[in-house]
Amino acid sequence: MKKYLTVFKTQLQHTLTHRADFFGYRIANIFEILIQIVVWSAIFGTTQQVGGYNYSEMITYIVVGRAFSFFTANFGLEHVIARQIQFGELSNFIVKPMSYLKYLVSMSTSRSALGLISAIITSLILIVIFSNYIIAPQNPALWLLIIAMLILGYLTHLFITILIGFIAFWTVDISGIFFSVKALEKFAAGVYFPLNLLPAAFVNFSLALPFAYTFYFPIQLFLGKTTIHDGLIGLAIQIAWLLALYFMIKGLWRLGLKKYESVGI
């Protein structure tokens, strides 16, 4: 356990070295939220309801949703993994008495810890600014369920990211693939807009995939648009996906390692 703690601490220092860069990302995030708020404010200037959401619910969707996506983010870990594969750094890990997957989880958790602190600050500022519009659930059981979903959501994202990162075993040109996969993931998770603006068939389809459970689904719980009972079913689906992803990683890791040539060492 202690060795993973060391990985955690080292990574924390690494991130703090590049704090200006880090700050840049947060500014970008705030503007992304502003873009959505401007668009929806203009729309709700002429109507009361869109797709079953009133103005407060939509603002909550955007602001609280953004906080959720910070909690579950791993800040471009796929590029770190790809770099380690392509520059041969992976060899360092293979000879260490530590599993690469566990290393990745502890390293990423450290990267995210700092992201989390800055995310909490950004989210708090936004929540204070829009406090008149934010709707929060009262039921403590609901909060517990949402927190559980977010922790699992973090792991789901992390596992998907690791899977994507492993593409680097097979091809060198990855940034385009990464970019597109991430965008599609955001789309299917409901980051751009609430999924139920789309036809029911699409919503059902996306609820069969893991992505919606990292964003759209917890917010529906938060807004009280989904019952706790349905929420528990969602949690079960999330756990099933997490297990499936874990085995996919194990399988892909074995195949990838056969391809791995330690180029760059």
């Binding site: 840049g24 873009i35 729309i43 869109v50 597109s180 599609l184 751009y192 807009f193 603006l197």
Partner: protein
């Protein structure tokens, strides 16, 4: 002139080497447009007009904003500029019998070729899907003015990229800063939404910056929301900004070169 042509040819060949990687960006590039188109389609089911835009004007706005911005983008050329500085490859350019700015502008222009082909294919698909919602009506002088605005927009974007890339003279980690500047730029240029959805004072402020003239004003001209004379005024503002940016680049370049240490050579 011939030497510039060779540079462009080299770059085009280089881009064709990475054709799959470049094409892979296409799915992600279009995700935001699809999201915006869905939001507006849903919204206009219950509303006639939002801030003076009817349904086909708004769909045309987001589609053409997307199209124009991908016609005039430099595809993160700032990263190339910064990489040259960080890796010391800038020294290669310094010893060439050609000005840095001219050289880089030629490289950038050759570099966008494959991406441009991809965008043209994408836009045909997008036009096909939104055909009955898009507005196609433009007279010859307006088309000419629009083309001129887009060319100047490209040059503005290019000079901005180079200027942002020069941050690399002073700091090593830049991705976060780039992202922040890019999103702010998209916000002010009206890439995601017509900037007149913003409060009137913000619209006035954004018209002092060059960004609005690279997306918002050309589309307003295309949609016939501003007159030909106002379009000409926009072009004049663009040209003034181009000259200003050129001056700033010259100055920053001189300071940056003093800091440059040719690390990596």
């Amino acid at each position: 002139m011939k030497k510039y042509w060779s540079i462009i040819r080299n770059e085009i060949q280089r881009q064709f080497t990475y054709r799959i990687a470049i094409a892979a960006y296409a799915f992600g590039n279009i995700a935001e447009l699809v999201a915006l188109a869905i939001i507006w389609t849903v919204v206009y089911q219950s509303i006639e007009v939002v801030k003076g835009y009817n349904a086909s004007e708004m769909i045309s706005y987001v589609v053409f904003a997307w199209f124009f911005s991908f016609l005039t983008t430099t595809y993160a050329f700032e990263a190339n500029v910064a990489r040259d500085i960080h890796m010391g490859t800038l020294s290669n350019i310094l010893v060439k019998p050609m000005g840095y700015l001219k050289y880089m502008m030629t490289v950038a222009t050759g570099r966008i070729f494959v991406a441009l082909l991809v965008v043209l294919i994408q836009v045909i698909i997008v036009f096909y899907f939104f055909w009955d919602k898009l507005i196609f009506s433009i007279d010859f002088p307006t088309a000419l003015l629009l083309a001129a605005m887009l060319v100047v927009s490209y040059l503005i974007n290019l000079l901005l990229s180079i200027l942002i890339g020069f941050i690399g003279f002073w700091t090593a980690e830049i991705a976060g800063i780039y992202l922040a500047l890019k999103i702010i730029k998209n916000f002010l240029s009206g890439f995601y939404f017509p900037i007149n959805l913003l409060p009137a004072t913000l619209v006035k402020i954004s018209l002092f910056f060059p960004f609005a003239y690279t997306a918002f004003i050309p589309i307003q001209l295309y949609l016939g929301k501003i007159s030909f004379a106002e379009g000409l005024r926009g072009l004049a503002v663009e040209i003034v900004w181009l000259v200003i940016l050129y001056g700033i680049i010259k100055i920053v370049w001189r300071f940056g070169l003093k800091k440059y240490e040719s690390v990596g050579i």
